[in-house]
Amino acid sequence: MLSREEWLPLARKLDWDFTYVREDEVFPQVISGHPWLPHSEWKEWEESFKTSYREYVDNQYEKDMAVYAVRDAVGRLENIQKLAAPWMNSLKLHAAALPLAEFTGVIGSLRGARFGRDSAWRTMSTFGALDEYRHTQIPLLLFHQLVRWDAQFDWAHKFYHTNNWFAVASRHFFDELILGQSAIEFAIGANFVLETGFTNLQFVGLASLARESSDHMFERMVTSIQTDEARHAQIGHPVIAVVMKHDPEYVQYLLDKWFWRSWRLFSILTGVSTDYLTALDQRPYSFKEFMEEWIIDQFLRTLDEFGLKKPWYWHIVEDELDIYHHMIYASAYTYRATLWFDFVIPSPAERKWLRQKYPKYWDDMDAVWEQVSERWRTVGPGAANELKVHGTALPTFCDLCQLPLSGGTPRKNTANVLAKDGRKYIFCSEPCRWIFLREPERYANHKDLVKRVLSGEAPTQLSELLTEYFRLTPETWGKDVHNGAYDWLAASKASSAQR
């Protein structure tokens, strides 16, 4: 009997040289990607973690059984209902963002499964596509019991089908990166930058947060997903190794573009979950600490291995570690009805922790939270007063990433205007502007939410925007978890009154 090491190489390398069709007819550049190289350049393509179909099926079956066992033990509705309210809202955020985005990963992986330039690449992409089916179906299954219990979990399932501003930003990202890319671009932008750079380790971090929050079902789910991610994220590495020999500038461009765009979305999803939607005594680290330990150092080492440079805007990322997700969370809190999950104001103890972890700009953020707290003190707590502690003016969005214009700091916002071809665009940052200018034909006709309102495509009144355009309802739109009834707010109001 052949050992695995003897027969698996036969099962991985399966291509023959085409004699009755041209190679570029089988792998047209427009779908396979740039640079178009003959197979002789790709035939040494090698993945780090090899698997056979049989091994894949066996391993995935074991993983699934482990997830279902944990669900049966600690993932029932009565278990979930006991979780802390802020963490519950992190789950709602992920319940919306995760499943259909993972399904786009099926589509992107299948492009690699058909148009990857070597049989081993195509095989790994096939397994990658199966992984992404799993990553779609597991959260849909595990969260399903919650849809009747909480209308916001139910709404989460229509998130991507709405024009909610965060759905617009997410679709803008996934449509281009995952759905619209060639096989080479997907391998570099998605497998390497997004997955190796962010999501692989995001799941490690999320699992840790879930464990601290006593949410063992979500912990098991993301841990299980992460083991798949670690395998198929590696597809990017051997693709980069080949493309670097022929067009290193193109690899650098894809890295610079997709790292920035991934950073934007990732810092919102994970930064908000880590520093605001996890209870203080359950936070194992700050978002910045997590990024520095798990993402930044490791990613920079990986870039070195390939002879790639840090993205040109690295100094901006380093600075934004201290501020961007704080700007976004405070903005989102004051526009929480535009989203489908609830928010909390950081308490004095939490603000002290945040000051300790983020000393550079915390004075400015603390002033914002003090102002918001003062509004609750003035109007008084209660559901009836929710919209009195809510923004009324239309927030503004970046014409590239479609996210709020919250770049920079409260003292110096980095939004910048560009006049081009008779139109004006506004960007949250220099990197977003740079990406736009590199490919204006791709982005020039996209309409952000403000342009849709100004053109009459979207309503101008906030209430109609929420219900008609974002398809939220008073039951599903975001609120303060406590409707402003915080013990510490009441205590500080009482002590002010005594003075």
């Binding site: 700007m327 953020m365 914002v368 102002q371 003016a393 503004t396 709020p404 939004a415 205007v417 506004i426």
Partner: protein
Amino acid sequence: MAIPLYGFLEGDTLGLLVLAEEGETVLDLARKLQDAASLRVARNDKIAFVYNGKAIELGLTVAQAGLQASDRFEVIGKGKL
């Protein structure tokens, strides 16, 4: 006809859409932005209006200041420029 402008108030966490009238003063416009951002930023009576990197005299109208649709302006504490 209202002119849509992107307003950035010092101390705030995001930009806001402010609709301006040609005949209103930039001071009025600044106060509109401050009101819109009041949930997050306490009002400062001493302010400067900045457009295209320059401080604009507060008594000028929006038209006189040259503000056009989709332009960006800032309101900052006076003495900071």
